[in-house]
Symmetry: D2
Subunit: 376 residues, 4 copies
């Protein structure tokens, strides 16, 4: 089968190779990949940045890239019972250990003994991929592959917006950040009744998408100071600040921004990853005196988030086509990576298709919804 | 001032009279009524049905009718501090006792020692009304009076949909009933990300409004059996039933329906009032084995529900104009009552205006949004 | 191996037989039974009452009885990964289907496609039992087998007390019922900071145990009317009623009692099973106007409840020895059943031991704690 | 009346003076102080440290100190309705503005426009004090004044332990800190079913009290490294860390400690106040990847915390006498302050009595419970 393999510990260092399809294990299923999308993590591995060098390391190469996927089950292992041949699935990428304490308690997404698809084992940038039954999620057939494939980051957005308690209806929200997950979060917030959505961003390309996803106000950090933005937000919230603040960048400045705009007794989602080992936090004023609730958000609730996401997509509550800026053939993956590395930004989510017929169909579906940037 | 007064213990028995405006008390505010709307409770009092005879009784007459209101504060009592002259307010109708245990614990809407506006004291079908400061809610100025006035029943709909935990995003819901509050609930569910909304109704007039409010499926009890509806709902929910079921009628049959469609581990809102003293409940199968969560919903959370509702209305997330089927002059109240008593239904919510200029403006606003049934 | 087998569809109809030990399946484990206890469900099957006739039926006989167990893993199936030979486990008896929607959403205890140990498959009144890995719970070694064995009904008590949210600290509670699970619930409530515990019972034998388990007040239905008890409870709660009410009997009268004593805005646990097909409920006053939260409680949260229970037992927060009224050899099971069928009550929980040495050790442990009724 | 007045902006700078008793305002009540206790905040004001200089300032002097109180209502203002002459009350010290958004939403303890008793207005170290009706809490008469007086810090402990959701039963907990509130928290955790309580402290005097309050393990920072303590905690928690971590000191080191011991998916209470303007936080590992829930805890829930606390104290679930190390006459306040400023620690909570007869009775009550350190 065709597969995008990281073969050398260097920038790029990948090749489209012909490799053997995986041999089925008893508790796993074999999936024909219909669509797969490029994540920031894949870009890190492509770049072979320090995180990738440390987390993956030279020894595990060669390894197939990728973890976002939608496809059809073509074979199931001997002990598989809930997933059937022909099912249209996506895969949760946090391959939890069922015996982990967190798994036993219903927090499968943050296990101590968890594997990550495409990081700790071969990934999905291929014609076929094998995944354990327990991380398969059956998609509604009404959700097209280019949407089903991006549910892993979309699920991040759903979990980031809803937090631990899903209590958002009628509340106000600041989203600090304009990366793809922030764009998804904007659409989710709009779909779930967040009453006022203020996005703080910097990329003109992405902020334009945020508008389409339903942000009420977009504050461009190139054109205002944090203090000016804070004054604007106080005006918009009766002088109190927002009920919910989403930090989706990582780093001292955006974290400061997210806490600053939060009202007393509000909830802050901590989603962004910082490059600093430690971030200075005004612990007294941001957390204690503010009576803040902070939700650390990693991954997606397995499968609570997936269930809600399926409902939102299949019910037509959420249109994510503005974020799917490009669809391409799997062979064009290098072009995809290079677009995602460009500054200023040229793309949000890029979906790859191993099959050219399915790529064509996806292009047609997206064209119906909007003017899609050229791609292939 | 002009006021609609219940003067005789009989059907109708009301008169538009000239009465003295109330004299301000230290902890109350005087409100110039801009809009007031007719509730089912008002209809009961107009009809002077057994409930009204028992609850209000002949001795308290004469009493001014009405409790749904939006207006402008024109005078404040000596000890009033948070509400100012000129504020544009609506009134919570559950006038809670601040010393009640439930008030102390944040459940102000279900106090043991509570008064109801327009039931236990003079109401709002008048040019002016006096209400305690503690039940005043300041409206956003962008919400027109015909919307601000109906927030009491809309708040019922918000609370019924959100329940105690506001956890609805991406879930499926059955709404049993098609009265005005069920219609509001439909719009709220749609605005707050409920992914599939199935309404069970019987009035053609109201089910038509339900469609406009965002119901995905409307099941007409005149055209199907409960078992047929159950099969349809199982098909729509992967064979499990809905996550959330709203009972908004009251009575053995609709309660049976609401429990029947609920999935194991789901949540049922108990909102409808029954005429029977007791209802037979399949306690084992509907509650225990189902692991159901039942939320008894009475009134609105004070002021959590109001806060969210203001957000949804002011943010343009929720358009309730399809439910406001008629606007009229206060003097035409009898016509309003008779329309609401008609079978089959001819009206959903009717809003009355003491001032003819404000009525005219409301008509114009509503005309812009839709084809409004004739009214005056 | 020795096993207590139901062989004939009649009262009793059981025999201690020598049968083959189960042959291990890939995803199951073989457990040497150290202690097993008799549940009301076992008594129903022993009696062969209408429920047992319908639920189990003649066709499935012969079948080994029992489902409460503690023991040592002596063999694991080929695909078992989290449980090891030598582990000291108890078994969750709700054998969930991992692909069930409720399992996917973290509500494993109420699956649509679930099997019950000792009801839908061979049980634990034997020297060995085979159970799926996924329902094994590893006990702390500091918990003796006679305690570890009764964790299934104790878990009912934990879940009934804690409800869905575990929010009980400093609150007041009525427990309607004095069966073994109500006695466990009393101890759990006391251990978890319920500030006032009032138990409504009728068995002198069991109410005496309730006192030892920490009930503050015990109201004997033989000596007072429901109205008298209600007046007492109002006096004890500042005139409001209790924050939490546990219905642990089933039936119109105890359900009426449980709702009557509940304050507005309180929570009611629906745990008891009724013999009636339907129970008359004062829906308006008990649920809607009361703003009640009702939690249908079936089984135990898998494994949230087990985790907390292990903590409470191993931490010495909860001493359940007063409820373990008898320990016996497995061979004496008939005596145990007959004691549990006696009126008035003579026993609460009876634990059976296949091994005489382990029985002797259990007797010594219990003797240290209290005067244990004679047994075997 | 006698009152302890801060008269000069300097260390000490206080005098026991004869001043006029306050004149009653319409919505306030006059309380005869039976017991009042010394808080860390009072010590800051006594010391006149930089916080006190900034927060209170020279201009507001003279001002009566103190905010922890229990007493009898002797007069009520004209508009007071819920509190009656003769009521035995304590006062919430966060005097909330009822019109504040947080107050309207049920979060009265963290208002933007709030006053603090004894900081923003005259306090309670006096024979009489006037407080607004809305912050009065009626005590159970079975709670003695020396317990009722310390409910303000005890309420901190209750809120810190229970967090926002009161979900603690059967869980494991680390308490970082051994100040009076940490000691109270230890007792609350024990009373509310926390299954394993590990306290990290440094004062021999206070750690001895922590043992009496129910800590299972006490880790002395003078005798172990953080890494050693971490290993111990991992052993105690199956390798995962604790479910709940309470940070009750403030500062980089204890905050690091509290996060380090927390398991993935656990909850951290942020209660301690830091002296640093900002604290370095390992945002990725402590919050995001850990999926941590952080609850900023300030004050007490008004009145949810008070309600639970009354239940725990009146129900005999919680004995706080080990923390009340000293009772003294009000006149001896300087001795009390100096004891609290001593290093190493000599006292935990000190309660002052204006009336010598009431002081004598308190001493007798405490003597019955334990060997009380000499005082007066």
């Amino acid at each position: 089968m065709k597969a995008v393999v990281k073969i050398r510990p260097e920038r790029g260092g990948t090749e489209l190779q012909d490799v053997d399809a995986p041999t089925i294990k008893p508790d796993e299923v074999l999936v024909r990949v219909q669509a797969t999308s490029i994540c920031g993590t894949d870009v890190h591995i492509y770049e072979w940045n320090p995180w990738a060098q440390r987390r993956i390391g030279e020894k595990r190469l060669p390894q197939i890239l990728g973890h976002e996927v939608a496809g059809e089950v073509v074979e199931v292992g001997a002990s598989v019972r809930s997933i059937k041949k022909g099912d249209y699935i996506s895969s949760e990428t946090h391959i939890y250990d069922p015996g982990d304490l967190t798994s036993l308690l219903g927090q499968r997404h943050i296990g101590e003994h968890m594997q990550i698809l495409g990081v700790d084992r071969d990934g999905v940038f291929a014609e076929y991929v094998m995944v354990p039954e327990r991380v398969c999620w059956v998609n509604a057939r009404s959700i097209p592959p280019e949407f089903a494939s991006v549910q892993e980051p979309l699920g991040n957005g759903v979990y980031a917006v809803l937090g631990e308690d899903a209590d958002v209806a009628g509340k106000s929200m600041v989203i600090v950040g304009d990366g793809p997950t922030a764009l998804f979060a904007t659409g989710v917030a709009r779909a779930c009744g967040v009453a006022k959505i203020i996005l703080v961003g910097y990329s003109d390309f992405n902020m334009d998408i945020a508008k389409k996803m339903g942000a009420d106000y977009i504050l461009d950090i190139k054109k205002s100071t944090m203090e000016e933005r804070h004054q604007f937000i106080l005006e918009q919230t009766g002088g109190y600040g927002v009920d919910i603040s989403l930090e989706m960048v990582g780093g001292e400045v955006p974290i400061t921004e997210a806490f600053t705009h939060l009202r007393k007794g509000g909830r802050l989602t901590a989603f962004g990853i910082t490059t600093e080992a430690a971030v200075p936090i005004d612990y007294n004023n941001w957390i204690v005196f503010k009576g803040a609730q902070i939700h650390g958000i990693n991954g997606r609730k397995v499968f609570d988030t997936w269930y809600r996401m399926r409902g939102l997509l299949a019910g037509g509550r959420l249109d994510i086509s503005p974020v799917i800026t490009h669809v391409m053939a799997l062979e064009a993956y290098e072009k995809g990576f290079e677009m995602l590395l460009a500054e200023p930004r040229l793309a949000a989510k890029i979906v790859l298709f191993p099959d050219h017929g399915e790529l064509k169909a996806a292009k047609e579906r997206l064209s119906e919804k909007r003017d899609m940037p050229a791609a292939d």
